[in-house]
């Protein structure tokens, strides 16, 4: 292992690092940076929707040519929701979440010295970085960034005549996403190969922590579905720049008939959602994995139904690839197809329910350690359930007719995916911060961060269901054109106030995060008394993770509070490291 000792320069250590731990931190910090932009945008458009006629200095300061007298232009409103959605879904919750934790935990938890290919791993990060830069640059385009919604349905996204953001802004969006997809694919392939090939001795698949299962399956769905988005984007680029007609047909705009013939926007919708739906699980599965792990550790109990958890991850992954049509019930698609998608969609509620019940049972008769990571995990289950349940309304095609594209949908997906996944990500950061930086984060700030965020999350998204049921469409710049919506204006004000509160609460996190890196208390090797392999590595990062041999694994990851007939802990403590050999006659579920 000569690479153990080779000399590191600043550049190879901190910038073009091939060490998975450093790459993980790079993903995290880039994700946080993009997250700040995304959240800030949401504050701006919430101001607009709550007080459409009011002038704000902050809008004047940030939106420059896209506002007049502190009131943003309608184009800019759409641009903000578009880029907010794109950044949050892809840059924060896909790259920021998966990129951070798959990189950190896969090698550490399966007992590998690094990813299968450190070089590709580095490339994956730098492509992500590049795509972030392009996305950020697109914000400064004169005509404004992409504005057709994060789902970029053509023809709106294809024709600059239809909306100014569909000019250069859209081109940059597509370029950025193409690079992003390349990054994601390279990363995913690396994760899959690493998990399948580099497990240490004794680390059978059935001994892997659920985090690793989640990352593995997520990577597989990513590899299956992201290429389809890439093709969709390519065809859109052709339509935009080379005059093809994949998605366009019979269009008359600004006084002229365009030449496009025979294409269909519905084709784009199919291709987009063939990725788009799996994408929401690409976002949530890693969060589920993190939460499972954190809940078991902090409950001092095995995760309940380990095999059922794996089974439901797989079932969700499989089903997630055959439900995309539920976003298109009223797209003009054949109604019979709608029936099929209703059926498959509601099926996916079953494995989701199994997971929720298993988490709750994990808490039952536990000895819960209320660390901030644990609070966020409990919050995760709460919001996932609240948001998941409304899926039963949306998934039923007959009911979706009337709530499609209203705020009801916005409430649903923010709770089930937005808030939940962010909670999972925070839980992960609080829990593995000691592993990343060798320091501890402050507990009390973590508590404040959690409670204010939790209150804000419900304050923002719960009332949204009801304004959706009032028939209020999403993506409206203002509702003042419709007297019938005058009575939702108050609700929108309350929502915006909670949104600002939630945004400010993140300052607790940022302060805690960055101060703790430098001033945090030094971490011990296994601060949470967990069982998994990453806590057997030294606190100070070294190349190759373990100083000597990689330890051998003898048991599954969930031997918490294992007792003998007399009720004494089998190994003298309420947790047993995976590296501890089995005693004679001791059983291991794997």
């Amino acid at each position: 292992m000569s690479e153990h000792h080779h000399k590191e320069t600043f550049v190879t250590k901190y910038i073009f690092s091939q060490d998975h731990k450093m790459i993980s931190k790079q993903f995290l910090v880039t994700g946080i940076f993009m997250g700040i932009i995304g959240v800030f945008m949401s504050m701006l458009f919430r101001l607009q929707i709550a007080w459409p006629e009011k002038s704000f200095t902050i809008i004047e300061a940030f939106l420059g040519p896209h506002q007049s007298d502190g009131i943003m232009n309608p184009d800019m409103y759409l641009a903000l929701v578009t880029i907010h959605g794109t950044i949050m879904v892809f840059f924060v919750l896909t790259a920021g979440l998966s990129g951070t934790f798959s990189n950190l935990l896969i090698p550490l938890q399966i007992g590998a010295r690094d990813m299968a290919s450190g070089f590709l791993n580095m490339i994956s990060y730098w492509l992500f970085f590049l795509s972030s830069i392009v996305m950020v640059i697109s914000l400064f385009v004169e005509a404004g960034p992409a504005s057709a919604g994060w789902t970029i349905y053509p023809p709106l996204s294809a024709l600059p005549q239809a909306i100014p953001g569909s000019g250069l802004g859209m081109t940059l969006w597509l370029v950025s996403m193409a690079i992003f997809i390349a990054s994601s694919l390279i990363g995913s392939l690396n994760y899959i190969v690493t998990v399948l090939n580099l497990r240490t001795k004794g680390m059978k698949m059935t001994r892997m922590p659920l985090t690793i299962w989640a990352f593995l399956i997520t990577a597989i769905i990513g590899v299956v579905s992201f290429p389809v988005l890439l093709s969709a984007a390519l065809l859109l680029i052709f339509d935009r720049s080379f005059g093809t007609s994949f998605y366009l047909s019979d269009i008359f705009i600004q006084g002229e008939v365009l030449h496009y013939q025979g294409g269909s926007p519905v084709l784009f919708e199919h291709l987009f959602w063939f990725l788009g739906h799996p994408e929401v699980y690409i976002v949530i599965l890693p969060a589920m994995g993190l939460v499972s792990e954190i809940m078991a550790t902090n409950s001092r109990k095995p995760i309940f139904g380990y095999r059922a958890m794996i089974g439901s991850i797989m079932a969700i992954a499989f089903l997630s690839t055959i439900v995309w049509g539920h976003h298109m019930f009223i797209s003009g698609m054949n109604p019979f197809l709608g029936s099929v998608f209703t059926f498959t969609t509601l099926l996916i509620a079953i494995p989701s329910a199994v997971k929720a019940f298993n988490w709750i049972t994990t808490l039952w008769k536990g000895n819960l350690q209320m660390n901030p990571a644990m609070l966020f995990s409990i919050g995760f289950v709460s919001t996932f359930v609240t948001g998941g349940l409304t899926g039963l309304v949306l998934g039923d095609s007959a009911l979706d007719i009337n709530v499609h594209d209203t705020y009801f949908v916005v409430a649903h997906f923010h709770l089930v995916m937005g808030v939940s996944a962010i909670f999972g990500m925070f839980a992960g950061v609080y829990h593995w911060f000691p592993k990343m930086y060798g320091k501890m984060m402050n507990k009390t700030l973590g508590y404040w961060h959690f409670w204010i965020t939790m209150i804000a999350a419900y304050g923002v998204f719960f009332p949204m269901h009801f304004i959706g049921l009032a028939g209020l469409p999403r993506r409206y710049y203002t509702n003042t054109n419709f007297p019938m919506f005058d009575d939702v204006a108050d609700v929108n004000v309350v929502i915006t106030l909670f949104a600002i509160l939630g945004g400010l609460a993140q300052l607790f996190f940022l302060a805690n995060f960055f101060i703790s890196i430098y001033r945090g208390k030094k971490a011990t090797q296994n601060p949470w008394n967990a069982t998994t392999l990453e806590w057997t590595t030294p606190v100070e990062h070294i190349h190759g993770n373990w100083p000597g041999q990689i330890p051998e694994v003898h048991r599954w990851a969930y031997d918490y509070s294992k007792v003998d007939e007399n009720g004494d802990y089998v190994h003298g403590a309420d947790f047993v490291l995976q590296t501890t050999p089995l005693l004679e006659g001791e059983e291991d579920p794997s």
């Binding site: 309608p74 909306i163 269009i251 007959a398 507990k443």
Partner: protein, 335 residues
Amino acid sequence: MLALFYIFIAVAIAVSVWQITRILNFRTVTATDKDNETQGKNFMIFMAAMYAMMIYCLIFMNVIMLPESASVEGEHDDNLFNITFILIGIVQFIVQFLLFYFSYKYRGKKENKALFFADSHKLELIWTLTPAVVLVLLIGYGLWQWNNVMDLSDAEDPIIIEVYSKQFQWEARYAGADNTLGRGNVNFIKGINTMGVDMSDKNAADDKKVTELHLPKGRKVIFKFRSQDVLHSAYMPHFRAQMNCVPGMVTEFGFTPKYTTEEMRQQSEVMAKTEKINKIRKAKGEEPYVFDYILLCNKICGASHYGMQMKIIVEEEAEFKKWIAEQPTLAEVIK
């Protein structure tokens, strides 16, 4: 409300500053029994607050929600929605209770031991099968209703109306005496022929272009949607009706209006909502609002997406006949 909020923020900032200064000299960084105690209780308090909020929303937001369905087909939507909503409401109350109550009940204490409980096939079977059975019922009713709404093949004597969308306006065309729409295509758009009707098609001459939708009560209406430029979505929330308008393609949707506009104005939910709205409008010094059915755009379609609307009037058959007779045919308008 606003003052309260500012106070809250001020307190939050003060606390954060205080905490940040403390960060330099803290002692324990993992949760102690005292933390477990406090946080466990916090979850109970949160649960109480959350229940209060849910109940508050259910009761007080009821008035802003859409009134009962104004179409015959939509009745089953309302039924199915109510069943689903009650169901998920119950599950929500129970599951959140279990989650938060366990978080409190099993909060960690030094002297306690967690139970090593890793698996129970019986339990897992229960919570696989129960949702499965419930879902089968929901899916069954849902699919029956979906078919009921979407299958337009058996409609008797329907009125055919074309709804045409463009940035940022709706237009509509009635099929006229022959109840068949003349062909339309963007290539025919010229001058006053804004919907691109092919006037050489013999079905086109008696078509009637209008700027307001009139529908007779009790008769099935079949809408044919076309779009001139980008995707739009024709959303008629009171009728539980929505369909995307797709350039290059004709989509369709149908329903039977159940109440005239006048009747709807007298409906109790509508009156309550109107009253609430008018209180707000009066405070702002705006004209009072009277209920009308409406068609609005519900697919992001460009800068003025938020203004695209068309009024719908439901009236008795006789009034409708009178109104439609007054409308000029395309042959009369487009020479």
